[in-house]
Protein backbone atom coordinates (compact mmCIF):
# COMPACT_ATOMS: atom_id res chain seq x y z
CA UNK A 1 0.00 0.00 0.00
CA UNK A 2 1.46 3.30 -1.11
CA UNK A 3 0.79 6.33 1.04
CA UNK A 4 0.81 9.94 -0.05
CA UNK A 5 2.11 12.51 2.41
CA UNK A 6 1.39 16.20 2.01
CA UNK A 7 3.26 17.98 4.80
CA UNK A 8 2.43 21.58 5.65
CA UNK A 9 5.83 22.47 7.09
CA UNK A 10 9.46 21.50 6.60
CA UNK A 11 9.51 20.03 10.10
CA UNK A 12 6.57 17.79 9.28
CA UNK A 13 8.20 16.77 5.98
CA UNK A 14 11.38 15.69 7.78
CA UNK A 15 9.37 13.62 10.28
CA UNK A 16 7.62 11.89 7.39
CA UNK A 17 10.93 11.18 5.66
CA UNK A 18 12.34 9.82 8.92
CA UNK A 19 9.49 7.35 9.22
CA UNK A 20 8.90 6.37 5.58
CA UNK A 21 10.99 5.66 2.50
CA UNK A 22 9.53 8.17 0.04
CA UNK A 23 9.84 9.58 -3.41
CA UNK A 24 10.13 13.31 -2.95
CA UNK A 25 7.87 15.18 -5.36
CA UNK A 26 8.59 18.82 -6.12
CA UNK A 27 7.35 20.12 -9.51
CA UNK A 28 6.73 16.61 -10.79
CA UNK A 29 8.26 17.21 -14.21
CA UNK A 30 10.61 14.23 -13.99
CA UNK A 31 8.80 11.86 -11.61
CA UNK A 32 5.41 12.21 -13.31
CA UNK A 33 6.98 11.24 -16.64
CA UNK A 34 8.87 8.27 -15.22
CA UNK A 35 5.87 6.93 -13.29
CA UNK A 36 3.22 7.65 -15.93
CA UNK A 37 1.25 4.63 -17.12
CA UNK A 38 -1.47 5.77 -19.48
CA UNK A 39 -4.32 8.23 -19.74
CA UNK A 40 -6.76 7.98 -16.87
CA UNK A 41 -4.57 5.68 -14.78
CA UNK A 42 -2.72 6.77 -11.67
CA UNK A 43 1.07 6.95 -11.90
CA UNK A 44 2.59 3.67 -10.71
CA UNK A 45 4.43 4.67 -7.57
CA UNK A 46 5.97 1.65 -5.87
CA UNK A 47 6.62 3.43 -2.57
CA UNK A 48 5.29 6.40 -0.62
CA UNK A 49 5.38 9.91 -2.01
CA UNK A 50 6.09 13.09 -0.06
CA UNK A 51 4.92 16.29 -1.77
CA UNK A 52 7.03 19.36 -1.01
CA UNK A 53 5.92 21.73 -3.77
CA UNK A 54 3.72 23.83 -1.50
CA UNK A 55 6.27 24.29 1.31
CA UNK A 56 6.87 28.05 1.37
CA UNK A 57 9.86 27.54 3.71
CA UNK A 58 11.80 26.03 0.82
CA UNK A 59 11.04 28.87 -1.63
CA UNK A 60 13.65 31.58 -1.26
CA UNK A 61 16.71 33.20 -2.79
CA UNK A 62 19.04 35.38 -0.72
CA UNK A 63 22.70 36.28 -0.60
CA UNK A 64 25.19 36.73 2.19
CA UNK A 65 28.88 37.64 2.10
CA UNK A 66 29.80 34.15 0.89
CA UNK A 67 27.30 33.55 -1.88
CA UNK A 68 23.75 32.96 -3.04
CA UNK A 69 21.36 30.56 -1.34
CA UNK A 70 18.56 29.04 -3.43
CA UNK A 71 15.83 27.17 -1.55
CA UNK A 72 15.09 23.70 -2.89
CA UNK A 73 11.47 24.56 -3.63
CA UNK A 74 12.33 27.58 -5.79
CA UNK A 75 11.02 27.21 -9.33
CA UNK A 76 13.26 27.82 -12.35
CA UNK A 77 11.21 30.85 -13.38
CA UNK A 78 11.90 32.56 -10.04
CA UNK A 79 15.62 31.76 -10.31
CA UNK A 80 15.75 33.05 -13.89
CA UNK A 81 14.16 36.35 -12.88
CA UNK A 82 16.27 36.98 -9.77
CA UNK A 83 19.15 39.47 -9.92
CA UNK A 84 21.25 37.63 -7.34
CA UNK A 85 21.60 34.55 -9.53
CA UNK A 86 24.83 34.19 -11.58
CA UNK A 87 24.42 34.87 -15.31
CA UNK A 88 25.67 31.41 -16.24
CA UNK A 89 22.80 29.75 -14.42
CA UNK A 90 20.28 32.13 -15.98
CA UNK A 91 21.68 31.44 -19.42
CA UNK A 92 21.29 27.70 -18.81
CA UNK A 93 17.71 28.12 -17.61
CA UNK A 94 16.86 30.24 -20.68
CA UNK A 95 17.52 27.20 -22.87
CA UNK A 96 16.11 24.62 -20.50
CA UNK A 97 12.89 22.72 -21.30
CA UNK A 98 9.89 25.00 -21.98
CA UNK A 99 8.19 27.97 -20.29
CA UNK A 100 5.59 25.70 -18.64
CA UNK A 101 8.24 23.37 -17.26
CA UNK A 102 10.23 26.36 -15.98
CA UNK A 103 7.10 27.49 -14.13
CA UNK A 104 6.82 24.11 -12.41
CA UNK A 105 10.25 22.57 -12.03
CA UNK A 106 12.94 23.23 -9.43
CA UNK A 107 16.72 23.42 -9.61
CA UNK A 108 16.99 21.03 -6.66
CA UNK A 109 14.78 18.57 -8.55
CA UNK A 110 17.18 18.63 -11.49
CA UNK A 111 20.02 17.85 -9.08
CA UNK A 112 18.13 15.07 -7.29
CA UNK A 113 17.10 13.50 -10.59
CA UNK A 114 20.84 13.36 -11.44
CA UNK A 115 20.46 12.77 -15.14
CA UNK A 116 23.79 13.02 -17.00
CA UNK A 117 21.86 15.36 -19.32
CA UNK A 118 20.65 17.63 -16.51
CA UNK A 119 21.69 21.01 -17.92
CA UNK A 120 21.66 23.03 -14.73
CA UNK A 121 23.92 20.49 -13.01
CA UNK A 122 26.75 21.43 -15.41
CA UNK A 123 26.52 25.05 -14.29
CA UNK A 124 26.43 24.03 -10.63
CA UNK A 125 29.62 21.94 -11.05
CA UNK A 126 31.33 24.88 -12.71
CA UNK A 127 30.27 27.30 -9.97
CA UNK A 128 31.41 24.99 -7.11
CA UNK A 129 27.85 24.69 -5.80
CA UNK A 130 27.16 22.97 -2.50
CA UNK A 131 23.97 21.36 -1.25
CA UNK A 132 22.53 21.58 2.20
CA UNK A 133 20.82 18.33 3.16
CA UNK A 134 18.61 18.23 6.21
CA UNK A 135 16.98 15.52 8.30
CA UNK A 136 15.27 15.46 11.69
CA UNK A 137 18.64 15.47 13.44
CA UNK A 138 20.39 18.32 11.66
CA UNK A 139 22.06 19.21 8.41
CA UNK A 140 25.19 18.63 6.35
CA UNK A 141 26.80 20.45 3.45
CA UNK A 142 27.98 18.47 0.41
CA UNK A 143 29.75 19.70 -2.74
CA UNK A 144 27.62 18.77 -5.74
CA UNK A 145 30.29 16.52 -7.27
CA UNK A 146 30.33 14.42 -4.08
CA UNK A 147 26.54 14.14 -4.11
CA UNK A 148 25.97 12.75 -7.61
CA UNK A 149 27.86 9.51 -8.30
CA UNK A 150 26.20 7.91 -11.32
CA UNK A 151 23.27 7.93 -13.70
CA UNK A 152 20.37 8.97 -11.44
CA UNK A 153 22.45 8.01 -8.40
CA UNK A 154 22.84 10.38 -5.47
CA UNK A 155 24.18 10.18 -1.93
CA UNK A 156 20.94 11.06 -0.18
CA UNK A 157 20.04 9.15 2.94
CA UNK A 158 16.42 8.08 2.97
CA UNK A 159 15.52 10.54 5.70
CA UNK A 160 17.20 13.51 4.03
CA UNK A 161 15.85 16.34 1.94
CA UNK A 162 17.80 18.86 -0.12
CA UNK A 163 17.06 22.13 1.67
CA UNK A 164 19.04 24.51 -0.49
CA UNK A 165 21.69 24.99 -3.12
CA UNK A 166 24.52 27.35 -2.26
CA UNK A 167 26.55 29.07 -4.96
CA UNK A 168 29.71 30.91 -3.82
CA UNK A 169 30.27 34.42 -5.20
CA UNK A 170 32.38 34.54 -8.37
CA UNK A 171 32.36 38.20 -9.22
CA UNK A 172 35.32 38.06 -11.60
CA UNK A 173 34.58 34.75 -13.29
CA UNK A 174 33.86 35.02 -17.02
CA UNK A 175 31.59 32.21 -18.09
CA UNK A 176 30.77 30.41 -21.33
CA UNK A 177 27.84 28.06 -22.09
CA UNK A 178 26.98 25.84 -25.03
CA UNK A 179 24.08 23.44 -25.30
CA UNK A 180 23.79 21.17 -28.31
CA UNK A 181 20.31 19.77 -28.84
CA UNK A 182 18.01 18.87 -31.72
CA UNK A 183 15.91 22.01 -31.40
CA UNK A 184 15.98 25.26 -29.46
CA UNK A 185 13.30 24.44 -26.89
CA UNK A 186 12.55 21.27 -24.97
CA UNK A 187 15.55 19.34 -26.15
CA UNK A 188 17.39 16.86 -24.00
CA UNK A 189 21.02 17.77 -24.56
CA UNK A 190 23.41 15.83 -26.77
CA UNK A 191 26.36 17.71 -25.33
CA UNK A 192 26.62 20.62 -22.89
CA UNK A 193 29.69 22.54 -21.85
CA UNK A 194 30.27 25.26 -19.29
CA UNK A 195 33.59 27.08 -19.11
CA UNK A 196 34.91 29.74 -16.79
CA UNK A 197 38.04 31.82 -16.41
CA UNK A 198 39.44 34.74 -14.47
CA UNK A 199 42.14 37.10 -15.69
CA UNK A 200 44.73 39.31 -14.04
CA UNK A 201 45.96 41.40 -16.96
CA UNK A 202 46.95 38.74 -19.49
CA UNK A 203 47.39 36.00 -16.90
CA UNK A 204 44.74 33.31 -16.50
CA UNK A 205 44.21 33.09 -12.74
CA UNK A 206 41.29 30.64 -12.83
CA UNK A 207 40.24 28.11 -15.45
CA UNK A 208 37.24 25.78 -15.25
CA UNK A 209 35.75 23.28 -17.69
CA UNK A 210 32.68 21.06 -17.19
CA UNK A 211 30.90 18.78 -19.67
CA UNK A 212 27.38 17.32 -19.48
CA UNK A 213 25.79 14.43 -21.42
CA UNK A 214 29.16 12.86 -22.27
CA UNK A 215 29.64 10.56 -19.27
CA UNK A 216 27.66 9.00 -16.41
CA UNK A 217 27.87 12.25 -14.46
CA UNK A 218 28.91 15.79 -15.30
CA UNK A 219 32.71 15.81 -15.60
CA UNK A 220 35.19 18.36 -14.33
CA UNK A 221 38.84 17.76 -13.31
CA UNK A 222 40.47 20.34 -11.05
CA UNK A 223 43.94 18.78 -11.51
CA UNK A 224 43.85 19.40 -15.25
CA UNK A 225 42.57 22.94 -14.64
CA UNK A 226 45.41 23.62 -12.16
CA UNK A 227 48.02 22.57 -14.71
CA UNK A 228 47.12 25.54 -16.87
CA UNK A 229 46.21 28.17 -14.29
CA UNK A 230 48.92 30.84 -14.19
CA UNK A 231 49.64 30.76 -17.92
CA UNK A 232 49.12 33.81 -20.11
CA UNK A 233 46.23 34.07 -22.54
CA UNK A 234 48.62 33.46 -25.46
CA UNK A 235 50.02 30.36 -23.79
CA UNK A 236 46.49 29.01 -23.24
CA UNK A 237 45.72 29.59 -26.91
CA UNK A 238 48.95 27.80 -27.90
CA UNK A 239 48.19 24.88 -25.62
CA UNK A 240 44.50 24.61 -26.59
CA UNK A 241 44.99 21.28 -28.37
CA UNK A 242 46.93 19.90 -25.40
CA UNK A 243 44.14 20.90 -23.01
CA UNK A 244 41.56 19.27 -25.28
CA UNK A 245 43.69 16.12 -25.30
CA UNK A 246 43.90 16.17 -21.49
CA UNK A 247 40.13 16.46 -21.17
CA UNK A 248 39.41 13.84 -23.83
CA UNK A 249 39.67 10.93 -21.40
CA UNK A 250 36.56 12.26 -19.64
CA UNK A 251 34.55 12.58 -22.82
CA UNK A 252 33.12 9.08 -23.01
CA UNK A 253 29.68 9.54 -24.55
CA UNK A 254 27.34 6.79 -25.67
CA UNK A 255 25.25 6.36 -28.76
CA UNK A 256 21.55 6.65 -27.96
CA UNK A 257 18.34 7.91 -29.56
CA UNK A 258 19.54 11.51 -29.32
CA UNK A 259 22.99 11.24 -30.88
CA UNK A 260 26.04 9.09 -31.58
CA UNK A 261 29.20 8.82 -29.52
CA UNK A 262 31.36 9.89 -32.48
CA UNK A 263 29.34 13.08 -33.01
CA UNK A 264 29.33 13.89 -29.31
CA UNK A 265 33.08 13.44 -28.94
CA UNK A 266 33.88 15.57 -31.99
CA UNK A 267 31.49 18.35 -30.96
CA UNK A 268 32.71 18.31 -27.34
CA UNK A 269 36.31 18.81 -28.45
CA UNK A 270 35.34 21.58 -30.87
CA UNK A 271 33.36 23.41 -28.18
CA UNK A 272 36.19 23.12 -25.64
CA UNK A 273 38.66 24.53 -28.16
CA UNK A 274 36.27 27.34 -29.03
CA UNK A 275 36.01 28.22 -25.34
CA UNK A 276 39.79 28.22 -24.87
CA UNK A 277 40.33 30.43 -27.92
CA UNK A 278 37.56 32.77 -26.74
CA UNK A 279 39.58 33.69 -23.65
CA UNK A 280 40.78 37.24 -24.14
Amino acid sequence: MVNHHIPSSLKEALKILDAHDCYIMAGGTDLMVVKHQRSGLLPNFDKDVCYISNLKELQYIYEDEKGVHIGAGTKYIDIQENNLVPDLLKQIIDELASPNIRNMATLAGNVANASPAGDSIVGLYLLDAKLELVNVHGSRIVPIEDFIFGVRKIHRHKNELIKEIFIPHHDDLNTYWRKVGSRAAESISKVTFAGGYELDDDKVTDLRMAFGSVSVTVVRDREIEKKYIGLTIDEIHEKADEIVEDMEKYITPITDQRSTKEYRLKVSKNILKDFLLSIE
Binding site: I6, M25, M32, V49, S98, P99, I101, A185, E186
Partner: protein, 156 residues
Protein backbone atom coordinates in the same frame (compact mmCIF):
# COMPACT_ATOMS: atom_id res chain seq x y z
CA UNK B 1 -7.44 9.31 -1.23
CA UNK B 2 -7.25 12.77 0.22
CA UNK B 3 -9.46 15.82 0.29
CA UNK B 4 -8.13 18.23 -2.32
CA UNK B 5 -9.38 21.82 -2.15
CA UNK B 6 -8.62 24.38 -4.83
CA UNK B 7 -10.29 26.97 -7.05
CA UNK B 8 -11.31 26.00 -10.55
CA UNK B 9 -12.34 28.78 -12.89
CA UNK B 10 -12.93 31.06 -9.91
CA UNK B 11 -15.16 28.63 -8.03
CA UNK B 12 -14.06 26.68 -4.95
CA UNK B 13 -13.83 22.94 -5.58
CA UNK B 14 -13.49 20.10 -3.09
CA UNK B 15 -12.75 16.62 -4.40
CA UNK B 16 -11.62 13.34 -2.94
CA UNK B 17 -8.75 12.16 -5.08
CA UNK B 18 -5.50 10.30 -5.06
CA UNK B 19 -2.84 13.04 -4.62
CA UNK B 20 -0.71 11.56 -7.39
CA UNK B 21 -3.54 11.79 -9.94
CA UNK B 22 -2.59 13.94 -12.90
CA UNK B 23 -4.37 17.28 -12.84
CA UNK B 24 -5.16 16.57 -16.50
CA UNK B 25 -7.16 13.45 -15.57
CA UNK B 26 -8.94 15.18 -12.70
CA UNK B 27 -9.99 18.00 -15.01
CA UNK B 28 -10.99 15.93 -18.06
CA UNK B 29 -12.41 12.75 -16.59
CA UNK B 30 -13.81 13.83 -13.24
CA UNK B 31 -14.63 17.51 -13.73
CA UNK B 32 -15.45 17.30 -17.47
CA UNK B 33 -13.18 20.16 -18.52
CA UNK B 34 -12.44 18.63 -21.89
CA UNK B 35 -11.01 21.84 -23.32
CA UNK B 36 -7.83 20.68 -21.62
CA UNK B 37 -6.26 18.42 -24.25
CA UNK B 38 -3.90 15.51 -23.85
CA UNK B 39 -1.26 15.42 -26.54
CA UNK B 40 2.02 13.81 -25.58
CA UNK B 41 1.37 13.14 -21.89
CA UNK B 42 5.00 13.91 -21.06
CA UNK B 43 5.31 17.68 -20.93
CA UNK B 44 6.50 18.22 -24.48
CA UNK B 45 3.46 19.58 -26.36
CA UNK B 46 1.65 22.10 -24.14
CA UNK B 47 -1.85 21.00 -25.24
CA UNK B 48 -2.75 20.35 -21.59
CA UNK B 49 -1.71 23.85 -20.43
CA UNK B 50 -3.77 25.38 -17.64
CA UNK B 51 -3.19 28.53 -15.61
CA UNK B 52 -2.12 27.87 -12.03
CA UNK B 53 -2.02 31.07 -9.98
CA UNK B 54 -1.68 32.99 -13.25
CA UNK B 55 1.15 31.03 -14.90
CA UNK B 56 0.92 28.09 -17.30
CA UNK B 57 1.54 24.54 -16.12
CA UNK B 58 1.47 21.29 -18.07
CA UNK B 59 -1.45 19.58 -16.32
CA UNK B 60 -0.19 16.16 -17.48
CA UNK B 61 2.84 16.50 -15.18
CA UNK B 62 1.06 18.12 -12.24
CA UNK B 63 -0.03 15.80 -9.44
CA UNK B 64 -3.22 17.17 -7.87
CA UNK B 65 -1.37 17.45 -4.53
CA UNK B 66 0.52 20.36 -6.07
CA UNK B 67 -2.60 22.46 -6.75
CA UNK B 68 -4.03 22.38 -3.24
CA UNK B 69 -5.08 25.93 -2.34
CA UNK B 70 -4.29 27.26 -5.81
CA UNK B 71 -6.35 28.94 -8.52
CA UNK B 72 -6.62 26.83 -11.65
CA UNK B 73 -8.08 28.31 -14.84
CA UNK B 74 -8.85 26.20 -17.91
CA UNK B 75 -9.94 27.44 -21.32
CA UNK B 76 -13.56 26.91 -20.15
CA UNK B 77 -13.08 29.54 -17.47
CA UNK B 78 -10.91 31.83 -19.53
CA UNK B 79 -13.39 31.97 -22.42
CA UNK B 80 -15.72 34.15 -20.36
CA UNK B 81 -13.21 36.99 -20.23
CA UNK B 82 -12.67 40.00 -22.52
CA UNK B 83 -9.03 39.00 -22.82
CA UNK B 84 -10.07 35.65 -24.28
CA UNK B 85 -12.29 37.38 -26.84
CA UNK B 86 -9.46 39.61 -28.02
CA UNK B 87 -7.02 36.73 -28.39
CA UNK B 88 -9.59 34.41 -30.01
CA UNK B 89 -10.62 37.11 -32.52
CA UNK B 90 -7.00 37.62 -33.56
CA UNK B 91 -6.50 33.85 -33.91
CA UNK B 92 -9.59 33.76 -36.16
CA UNK B 93 -8.46 36.77 -38.22
CA UNK B 94 -5.07 35.22 -38.94
CA UNK B 95 -6.24 31.64 -39.44
CA UNK B 96 -4.15 30.68 -36.43
CA UNK B 97 -6.19 27.59 -35.65
CA UNK B 98 -6.70 24.68 -38.00
CA UNK B 99 -7.56 21.41 -36.26
CA UNK B 100 -7.77 23.34 -32.99
CA UNK B 101 -6.20 20.73 -30.72
CA UNK B 102 -3.31 22.96 -29.66
CA UNK B 103 -5.44 26.12 -29.51
CA UNK B 104 -6.53 26.08 -25.82
CA UNK B 105 -2.88 25.76 -24.79
CA UNK B 106 -1.77 28.39 -27.31
CA UNK B 107 -4.40 30.84 -26.06
CA UNK B 108 -3.60 30.34 -22.36
CA UNK B 109 0.13 30.72 -23.02
CA UNK B 110 -0.55 33.84 -25.09
CA UNK B 111 -2.50 35.31 -22.19
CA UNK B 112 0.24 34.42 -19.67
CA UNK B 113 2.78 36.12 -21.94
CA UNK B 114 0.80 39.31 -22.51
CA UNK B 115 -0.05 39.69 -18.85
CA UNK B 116 3.67 39.70 -18.06
CA UNK B 117 4.91 41.43 -21.18
CA UNK B 118 2.14 43.36 -23.04
CA UNK B 119 4.46 44.39 -25.91
CA UNK B 120 6.58 41.36 -26.76
CA UNK B 121 8.96 41.16 -29.72
CA UNK B 122 8.43 38.38 -32.25
CA UNK B 123 11.28 36.44 -30.63
CA UNK B 124 9.67 36.77 -27.21
CA UNK B 125 6.39 35.44 -28.62
CA UNK B 126 8.18 32.47 -30.17
CA UNK B 127 9.95 31.74 -26.88
CA UNK B 128 6.71 32.04 -24.90
CA UNK B 129 5.03 29.52 -27.22
CA UNK B 130 8.07 27.27 -27.60
CA UNK B 131 6.49 24.62 -25.37
CA UNK B 132 3.29 24.47 -27.44
CA UNK B 133 3.41 22.23 -30.48
CA UNK B 134 1.11 22.72 -33.49
CA UNK B 135 1.01 19.82 -35.92
CA UNK B 136 -0.90 21.77 -38.57
CA UNK B 137 2.29 23.88 -38.91
CA UNK B 138 0.48 27.07 -38.05
CA UNK B 139 3.27 28.77 -36.10
CA UNK B 140 3.65 31.83 -38.32
CA UNK B 141 -0.08 32.55 -38.26
CA UNK B 142 -0.17 32.08 -34.49
CA UNK B 143 2.79 34.38 -33.91
CA UNK B 144 1.23 37.04 -36.18
CA UNK B 145 -2.05 36.77 -34.27
CA UNK B 146 -0.29 37.25 -30.93
CA UNK B 147 1.70 40.24 -32.21
CA UNK B 148 -1.54 41.74 -33.55
CA UNK B 149 -3.33 41.44 -30.19
CA UNK B 150 -0.31 42.97 -28.46
CA UNK B 151 -0.21 45.79 -31.01
CA UNK B 152 -3.86 46.64 -30.33
CA UNK B 153 -3.01 47.08 -26.65
CA UNK B 154 -5.45 47.03 -23.73
CA UNK B 155 -5.55 45.68 -20.22
CA UNK B 156 -4.19 42.24 -19.44
Amino acid sequence: MKIIKFHLNNKPVVVRADPSMRLLDLLRIHLHMTGVKEGCGEGACGACSVLVDGVCYDSCLTPVANIIGKHVVTIEGFRNTKQYRRIADAFADFGASQCGFCTPGMILNTYALLKKNPHPSEEEVRIALSGNLCRCTGYNAIVKAVLEVAEKGGEW
